[in-house]
Subunit: 369 residues, 2 copies
């Protein structure tokens, strides 16, 4: 098997657990948050900066890399790790989400999905086989099956049909995977319908994967509904395989997800809000570009040990962002990734010390003020 | 005196020299190239990255900082060094060049210059006294007098009148400087007219400054004409004071300037072309965004020891720039600054070893191919 998942500790009270995913490019301590490097770079960051923060795995997008620079450019470089100078684990998605969410889908059949490039309008036909071939050429440690990810809200009947196709695609993906060292994860869909989630999961379990993701959540539904789906579905997922909740990256959702037994998360949210001048602190969100910080000579977050907070003030960062200086985005991005990585560290520590439920309560109380 | 200039070695053949400028924030080895941090940040770079490259001094723009974030914001932070987290020397210009070149000048009198902000259109009146007050509040190590910097070509008669005003302004600047630890440099103007340059210099020498700059060059005149002006004027400048050629930053002009006795240079050119995807190499300019580098897995410059060339390929950097990724600009900026800093280092070494003339010849032969 490509990856090995080891559970170090289970929470005495919640479904949270601490574990280690062993991959060909090193260990991922879980629960883990994966920063997103859409185009083969976590926006504004070097790999060394990510490592300094403690990041162990990043996610990159198959859809974007396939269109630009193209897989041949990356495979000729020796794979995505060498191309982008990142020697730790990489997870790539299947590209399905982008096809369905960027609004360029032209035709969806059982065979695959026809879409138009958002870059040059060229037409491409993505099949489960092609998606795996692309990810094989990228050489990522964890790869994902192609699936349709319907938006919220979505009709029950539509979803039911979509699941059947997803199930076929998942099978074809598994058969197509030529590189055993790359761990292919299945994706549980089914919207907010408990029975559909169960059905989707059962089909995937029959095929058998080294890890299972939850897709189609955090796509517009109320948070409580997402938590309900997690409560219903996660307990049915194999305990000895990593569980990955796709597209979730706010502090509250991460903690609620961990509490319900999720091990891995990814989201563009923390890096995107950073570039818009908003940072996360233990006291909640802080929009440093606001005028009230023009003469505030304290760090973004008092007590934070990240490079940004150790060396710069809110006044300076606000100036940089107002003046559209690149360093501003760099500094806020560093802080937000450090913040979420520290949150994962604190969560693991709290689970190890049988105080995770109390940790979540006190953290969210302060965060949500 | 605020700074101390020490000449270590004079070229056996040309007017080049190696020296050290001692400032309150440390030593500047000359000949030196100063990267420009217009808005209190060298675009895309952290101070640590500049130090890793070996940069000893940066330039920042009084005009921009005065308008945004405003001097009070910076002085309350404890000065520009603390505000921007750079503890090595800083040179600030007077703001004059920006007022005259950004096209927002409204009225020029002997008293000062009325201009409109390029940010919000507000009107401001800059006088020699205000320019010094601003630079005093910034706390830069080297500060510059306010002067009019006419474009090329410029009428002799206009320049002659302009020089008289500049001379008055230089006097007023010197009188206004309240902080002795900040070294105020005079600026020699006079366009491409030998006698006007001489007249301008003589007036400044009468006032007396710890360093002298050459302004109004590299403003559109042919390079050979600039070299002629340098040949005529530099020998008249005091040998025991630093000589600073403003706004020059191409490899050939730097070497020709050093050869003629210039010690300091600044220019946005190397960082600006970097952000547009062009880098400097020993074999000349390379526009890495060009299609021919799409599958070129060699570094920007073979043999270069900069962070970029040690870790990334042309193919990856081209991809980043095409995809408008910030890391692309960061990597090209690092390389260009490293390249120019290395050129200064190699020049100093060559002067020390009495082979500077040969070094320039062979360097330019390869660079201009």
């Amino acid at each position: 098997m490509s990856i090995k998942f080891e559970i170090t500790k289970e929470c005495y009270k919640t479904s949270a657990r601490v574990g280690k995913v062993h991959t060909p490019h090193g260990i991922i301590d879980t629960p883990a948050f994966m920063p997103v490097g859409t185009q083969g770079t976590v926006k504004a960051m070097t790999p060394e900066e990510l490592k300094d923060i403690g990041i162990q795995i990043i996610l990159s997008n198959t859809y974007h890399l396939y269109l630009r620079p193209g897989c041949h450019v990356i495979s000729e470089a020796g794979g995505l790790h060498l191309f982008m100078h990142w020697d730790r684990p990489i997870l790539t998605d299947s590209g399905g989400f982008q096809i369905f969410s960027l609004g360029n889908l032209r035709k969806l059949t059982d065979e695959g999905a026809l879409f138009r490039s958002h870059i040059d309008g060229s037409e491409h036909f993505l099949t489960p086989e092609l998606v795996i071939e692309i990810q094989n050429s990228l050489g990522s440690d964890i790869i994902m099956v192609l699936d349709e990810c319907p938006p919220y809200p979505c009709e029950y009947e539509y979803l039911k049909k979509s699941l059947r196709r997803n199930n076929q695609w998942a099978k074809r993906c598994k058969e197509a995977n030529k590189r055993e060292e790359q761990a292919l994860f299945g994706i549980v869909q089914g919207g907010v319908y408990r029975d559909l989630r169960k059905e989707s999961l059962e089909s995937l379990l029959e095929i058998g994967f080294p890890g299972y993701a939850l897709g189609g959540l955090s796509v517009g539904e109320p948070k409580d509904l997402m938590y309900e789906v997690l409560e219903d579905t996660v307990p049915l997922m194999p305990a000895d395989k990593p569980r990955y909740l796709m597209g979730v990256g706010t502090a509250d959702c991460l903690l609620e997800g961990i509490k319900r037994g999720v091990d891995m998360f990814d989201c563009v949210f923390p890096t995107r809000i950073a570039r818009n001048g908003t940072v996360m602190t233990q006291n909640g969100y802080l929009t440093v570009r606001n005028a009230q910080y023009a003469r505030d000579y304290t760090p973004l977050e008092t007590g934070c040990l990240c490079y940004t907070c150790q060396n710069y003030t809110r006044a300076y960062i606000r100036h940089l962002i107002k003046a559209k200086e690149i360093l501003g985005l760099r500094l806020t991005t560093i802080h937000n990734l450090y913040f979420l990585n520290r949150l994962m560290l604190m969560s693991r520590q709290a689970i190890m010390e049988d105080r995770f439920d109390k940790f979540v309560e006190s953290f969210l109380k302060q965060f949500e003020g």
